[in-house]
């Protein structure tokens, strides 16, 4: 190994953002009691992203009422208040807003450190408020049958037995004779998220044309360099990929609507639409050079239309984004100093981000009554193509559930 190679590996090792960090749960005993009280084959908890999103999306919003679904009056119409679920750790908007990055002075630096940003609405953004429908989703009544239908659409038979509660954390799983797997979760009680993974490569298929020129002496040592033949194309043409994906999609029984697919290096994505608007969810297919399916993922659910809610203007949404930014400790004036490896600190200069375009994108939010709603968000972009998202529903119609379970028990449907 050359000096440079050694240096590169050691520099990478030294760049470890968390070294020798101790960790102690705030209340390990209570956590253990909470967990071990649960049935070992119970429902999966909500994806973490929901919880953070729920808390932050309205972090700067005014609360209208406390608890329950309430009817708003005096606003020209009566609409159910959208009460978003909250994490069991009771992160109310007020205490969430005080959250700060857990920098440890003197410790190794985290690798990513967001530069403080100030958001400004560009001249092309509208000042006009509007309205938009919200949508609700419901999962299939028979998830196993739904998974078998996906299996058939992927080109496999439906006779392979579905197993449940598997080692990888999935709730349903089909393992095919060649080792490929189709597995699925029901993360929020209202949908099935399925993922297909082709059979893991064997030694020969993983290393075709490659050989480790100096195998490591121990399992923890750095393996030596690999000599490989020139890479062959690893994916089909765009036309082939689209045709392969379309053949699968056309065989999936669904009432969902998808946008025209996009294709990139054998990866074909179909963005889910609700009411003709895009969502942040998609069905995705990745093909290998021989046209076989390498991996795929998708959603099984049904969508129904709810009430139409007032939506703030794009310009007002930028103000909300700016407020959230500040409340999360990422605003220009709220940045804690950055601890560096040499224990010196530095303050980052804020970056002014001018948002030049906006588009309504629907995202999922868990409601406190266990329903899952698709709510409109503004997805803003700047001239570089970077984007940010903020809830577009008028904050008067949204609140975070005010209560949590004192015992720390996991509420139904919202962990």
């Amino acid at each position: 190994m050359s000096d440079f190679e050694f240096d590169a590996a050691e520099r990478l090792r030294a760049a470890n953002p968390v070294t020798d960090a101790t960790y102690q749960h705030a209340d390990f005993g209570a956590m253990m009691r909470r967990i071990t009280k649960q049935p070992r084959r119970g429902a999966l908890t909500f994806a973490r992203g929901f919880r953070l999103k729920m808390a932050s999306a309205v972090g700067a919003s005014a609360l209208v009422t406390a608890g329950g679904i309430a009817l708003l009056t005096g606003l020209g119409n009566s609409l159910p208040l959208l009460e978003l679920g909250v994490a069991h750790s009771a992160q109310t908007p007020s205490n969430f807003s005080t959250a700060r990055p857990s920098t440890t002075p003197g410790a190794a630096t985290m690798i990513f450190r967001l530069r403080p940003m100030d958001f400004v609405a560009g001249p092309s953004l509208s000042n006009t408020a509007s309205s938009a429908p919200i949508y609700f989703e419901a999962g299939p009544s028979d998830p196993v049958t739904a998974l078998e239908q996906i299996s058939a659409a992927l080109g496999f038979g439906t006779t392979t037995p579905v197993t449940t509660n598997n080692t990888d954390g999935s709730q349903w799983e089909i393992t095919y004779a060649n080792g490929a797997q189709l597995y699925a979760n029901n993360p929020n009680g209202a949908e099935i998220d399925w993922t297909y993974t082709a059979a893991p490569c064997s030694d020969s298929s993983c290393t075709t044309g490659c050989v480790v020129t100096s195998p490591p002496s121990t399992s923890s040592a750095i393996p030596g360099p690999v000599t490989c033949l020139p890479d062959a194309p690893t994916y089909p043409s765009d036309t082939q990929s689209l045709a392969l994906a379309q053949a699968i999609m056309s065989n999936i029984p669904t009432t969902l609507s998808f946008a025209s697919p996009t294709v990139n290096q054998g990866d074909v994505s179909y963005t889910l639409q609700v009411g003709g608007s895009p969502t942040n969810t998609y069905d995705d297919f990745q093909f290998a050079a021989d046209g076989s399916l390498s991996s795929a993922s998708g959603i099984i659910t049904t969508i129904s239309t709810g009430d139409s809610y007032p939506v703030i203007s794009p310009v007002a949404g930028v103000s909300t984004l700016q407020s959230q930014n500040a409340s999360l400790g990422l605003g220009a004036s709220s940045q804690p100093p950055l601890a560096t490896q040499d224990s010196t600190t530095t303050t980052l200069a804020p970056t002014v981000v001018t948002l030049t375009s906006d588009v309504i994108v629907y995202e999922q939010y868990a409601l406190a009554d266990s329903r899952v709603a698709w709510l409109p968000t503004y997805q803003y972009s700047d001239d570089s193509g970077a984007s940010w998202t903020v809830l577009a529903v008028d904050p008067q119609y949204v609140q975070v559930a005010a209560t949590s379970t004192p015992t720390g028990a996991v509420p139904n449907g919202v962990a």
């Binding site: 440079f4 590169a8 520099r11 090792r13 030294a14 760049a15 470890n16 953002p17 968390v18 960090a21 960790y23 749960h25 705030a26 967990i35 071990t36 649960q38 084959r41 119970g42 908890t45 994806a47 973490r48 992203g49 953070l52 999103k53 932050s56 700060r100 990055p101 985290m110 690798i111 450190r113 967001l114 598997n166 954390g169 979760n185 998220d193 993974t197 893991p200 490569c201 030694d203 993983c206 290393t207 490659c210 480790v212 399992s219 750095i222 393996p223 030596g224 690999v226 942040n280 959603i299 984004l321 959230q324 999360l328 400790g329 560096t340 980052l348 193509g385 970077a386 984007s387 962990a415």
Partner: protein, 167 residues
């Protein structure tokens, strides 16, 4: 519930909580202590539900694999990234070092030029301290295949670093 399983789970939780926490800390930032506790608990809930399936000879690797799935469920399957990512973090941040400040900028830029799988395998080895055998367990492949992928990823990383620092 048999006390044997409960005892084993408590040992696993106690022994592996730091590894889980550090795995998450290395991949999510900023991450306050309350959020970190919640994420660790989310991982341990799955460990508890699958306690019978935790292999005795690869406990830590199996649990890190669960932590990896928890993150992937949020990121890959449905773009359910954290609030910091969906609401505040530019989508393109991962490919742009401009908005990130790091102790060794060249290292970060070289990492960002790698594909997500290559970057993950390097992080698992050099940051999380996992051996090729443990990585193989997480990736569902053989130890030799994991070693090859690790080596190839490191070679790509070196190349990116070399190009980045070439005068």
């Amino acid at each position: 519930m048999g006390s044997q399983e409960k005892t084993r789970f408590e040992r696993l939780a106690r022994d592996n909580s730091p590894a889980i926490a550090n795995y998450l800390r290395r991949r999510l930032y900023p991450l306050n202590s309350s959020d970190l506790d919640d994420l660790v608990e989310e991982v341990l809930i799955i460990v508890w539900r699958r306690i019978d399936n935790v292999p005795a000879d690869a406990e830590t690797a199996w649990i890190i694999g669960v932590a990896r799935n928890v993150l992937q469920n949020a990121r890959r399957k449905k773009n359910r990234a954290t609030a910091f990512e969906t609401a505040l973090r530019p989508v393109m941040t991962e490919s742009s070092a401009e908005d990130a400040v790091v102790a060794d900028a060249a290292i970060t830029e070289a990492l960002m030029l790698l594909g997500p799988e290559e970057r993950e395998i390097l992080m698992l080895h050099f940051w999380d301290g996992l051996s090729s055998a443990q990585i193989a367990h997480i990736l569902g492949t053989t130890e030799n295949a994991a070693a090859v992928r690790l080596s190839r990823s490191l070679a790509q990383f070196r190349q990116h670093l070399l190009v980045d620092e070439r005068p």
